[in-house]
């Protein structure tokens, strides 16, 4: 169970022969992910941890028609082309790990993907994981155990931190999705929460926001408008961040008075979503919601 990815997910790795691609292919295989093929132009015939490599997505999909998802470790300048190639080959889920993808590229390929009913997660994200055995991403395997908590986050390592807190408190994860730290990303909180609502294995959701933009505020309005909800615990990173400075993530910036942690925390509370002040409060809040 879980959302978006599960034991039926058959994965293509674009950029598989690169350092990152090859490294994480190993860990995904160890976790149990069904990786059928990889693509790196010019590397046809090679194998990476036993996974066959092709020159084009078209060839890979021809050889393995079961492929339904692509995970990208492609260098930023080539991400757009790789996404178009995957979409035009009929792939319906694309997870983009790559950082520093130009925003104008993202705008175009995300709009294109939407036209073609292809779901894009990222760019600049840690990926998506449905324990116990399906990971399209770069999370540390051992922190993600199966359970009934949905986790959605704009941040990478912070997601692992929260998975670690859940683990220590005997809480497991249905699916964890890192939606990415860029201003323009393929899938947002509202869309992921919508998946969690429909997922029987998810009982509550942890939503990890950060400064920049108004995705948390828009989620709060959406949540407020719902009749049937699942409980949400929120966390917002960047309470101590100054205005006008990008905090690592391209999207994490308070600009023109917009996107402060304060605004997001207040909005969450306004619609009845409890907000953890520290990561270690998250399991406590979750347990109290689940015991209601």
């Amino acid at each position: 169970m879980g959302i978006i990815v599960n034991s039926n997910t058959r994965v293509l790795i674009q950029g598989i022969t690169g350092k990152q691609g090859s490294f994480h292919t190993k860990f995904m295989l160890e976790y149990g992910t069904q990786i059928l093929a990889g693509v790196t132009p010019g590397k046809k015939g090679e194998k990476v941890h036993g996974v066959p490599v092709f020159n084009t997505v078209h060839e890979a999909v021809e050889a393995f028609p079961e492929i339904n998802s692509s995970l990208m470790f492609v260098p930023a300048p080539y991400v757009a082309d790789a996404v178009y190639e995957a979409i035009d080959s009929g792939i319906k889920l694309i997870v983009i790990i790559s950082e520093r993808v130009p925003i104008h590229d993202s705008i175009q390929f995300i709009n294109y993907a939407k036209q073609k009913n292809c779901l894009v997660i990222g760019p600049n994200c840690p990926g998506i994981i449905t324990p116990p055995s399906t990971k399209l991403g770069i999370m540390p395997n051992h922190l993600f155990k199966a359970g009934n908590i949905g986790l959605v986050s704009r941040s990478g390592t912070l997601t692992y931190e929260i998975a670690y807190k859940l683990l220590k408190n005997s809480l497991g994860i249905s699916t964890a999705v890192g939606i990415g730290g860029d201003p323009i990303i393929g899938t947002d909180f509202i869309e992921i929460y919508d998946y969690f609502l429909k997922d029987k294995s998810t009982s509550a959701v942890v939503l990890v926001g950060e400064i920049g933009g108004d995705m948390e505020e828009r989620f709060s309005d959406f949540y407020n408008s719902l009749k049937n909800k699942k409980p949400v615990v929120a966390f917002v990173a960047g309470r101590s961040a100054p205005e006008g400075k990008r905090m690592g993530h391209a999207g994490a910036i308070i600009s023109m008075g917009m996107g402060s942690a304060k605004s997001k925390v207040e909005k969450f509370k306004e619609v009845g979503i409890p907000v953890a002040d520290r990561p270690d409060e998250i399991p406590i809040l979750l347990k109290s919601l689940l015991n209601k």
Binding site: P77, P102, I103, H104, I107, S155, G156, R218, S240, K245
Partner: protein
């Protein structure tokens, strides 16, 4: 990356967006040699990247040579919110009937460019949006069809003007061509003879696209402080704050949360420093060195959740810094994940305590820095 007004004006000239007549000068002599191309009254504008230069005295009107000399002298070299003024724009003051606003921004929500037009210009657009939302029109631009004539007609109708076609097309040309996050004219002046003229120019370029923007790819951003520029060179992310507890983390969200926790327990974070994913000992060494060098920093909190990042590499980097730079500050390390045991063992030998929980570690550094 934010551009200086004079750089933005250059791009507007290229896009044939009408501007009030202007020159830029890097020093007093240059200003005095060239100002005669312009008619009085002339506006003298400090070239800085921080906002609010007007209120800080960085914008003055000169009605004659006397006043001009005075203003140029005063403004050049001025310090505005920590930024030194290295150049000024001199521009003819337009005869303004009405101040409007027009911009194209990247809209996170619709994942598209957005035209923002306001009947009220020359003021903070966010303020207008809050106070008088009906004064603002938003039009989504589909990235595949761009700015269409019908959008021009809608903006014209909304602003009660009839000649914004070339300005709007020019803005979009600049927006696309230079991969902008923002192109803004505020104010867009309607002059006494019903012409539209840009009186200011603001452009923010997407940093991630710089590699393919030949015009700007080698421009050093003077927004950045000394240490921020060093950090960029070493390949990690560093943002200066005013506090006294140095922060190192891996991952932007975790690093921000580390700062937040220090603040939560009563401390003052001195910086944001994200070593990124998979950092080796050398990066950790460079990162820690930057913090060790700064006298204002009294303690350092290193928070690592090892995934791709290996704890032994982090430990090796810390040890190298301690050996080479000496330890004159409190250091608290929180470290779990890949090769955790090895890293912990290495640091033990240097008498550095390693914590498992970031909350406990945060409390500890605050205690060490302020309670001793």
């Amino acid at each position: 990356m934010k551009l200086y007004e004079y750089e933005a004006r250059d791009l507007f000239d290229e896009a044939k967006i009408p501007l009030n007549k202007w020159i830029v000068a890097k020093n007093y002599d240059e200003a005095m040699n060239n100002y005669k191309l312009l008619k009085f009254p002339i506006v003298v504008k400090a070239q800085v990247l921080v906002g609010g230069r007007g209120k800080a005295g960085g914008v003055k009107i000169a009605n004659n040579e006397e006043e001009l000399k005075m203003h140029v002298k005063n403004i050049l070299g001025m310090n505005i919110k920590g930024e030194k003024v290295n150049s000024v724009i001199l521009a003819e003051a337009a005869q303004i009937k009405k101040e409007l606003y027009i911009s194209i921004i990247v809209d996170r929500n619709s994942r598209s460019p957005l035209i923002l037009a306001s009947k009220e210009g020359g003021v903070d657009i966010e303020e207008v949006a809050k106070k008088d939302p009906h004064k603002i029109m938003k039009i989504k631009i589909d990235p595949f069809i761009g700015v269409r004539d019908y959008m021009v007609r809608r903006v014209e109708s909304f602003l009660s003007i009839s000649n914004i076609n070339s300005i709007l097309k020019g803005l979009y040309f600049t927006f696309k061509n230079y991969e902008c996050e923002l192109v803004e004219i505020n104010p867009l002046a309607l002059t006494d003879n019903d012409e539209l003229v840009a009186i200011d120019a603001k452009i923010v370029i997407d940093d991630s696209a710089l590699f393919r923007l030949n015009k700007f790819k080698n421009r050093i951003s003077s927004e950045l402080s000394y240490y921020e520029n060093i950090a960029r060179k070493y390949g990690f992310s560093y943002v200066e704050q005013e506090g006294d507890i140095g922060i190192i983390g891996n991952g932007a969200g975790l690093t921000m949360t580390t700062m937040d926790l220090v603040q939560y327990y009563g401390g003052r974070p001195a910086n944001f420093l994200d070593i990124g994913g998979g950092a080796d000992a050398e990066i950790v060494y460079n990162a820690l060195s930057i913090l060790l060098e700064q006298d204002r920093i009294k303690g350092i909190f290193i928070n690592i959740l090892g995934g791709i990042t290996r704890c032994d590499e982090v430990a090796a980097g810390i040890i190298k810094a301690i050996k080479n730079k000496g330890v004159n500050k409190n250091i608290v390390v929180r470290m779990i994940g890949t090769n955790e045991e090895m890293g912990k063992k290495m640091l033990k030998e240097y008498n550095i305590d390693v914590f498992d929980e970031m909350e406990v570690a945060a409390k500890e550094i605050v205690n060490l820095v302020y309670k001793n």
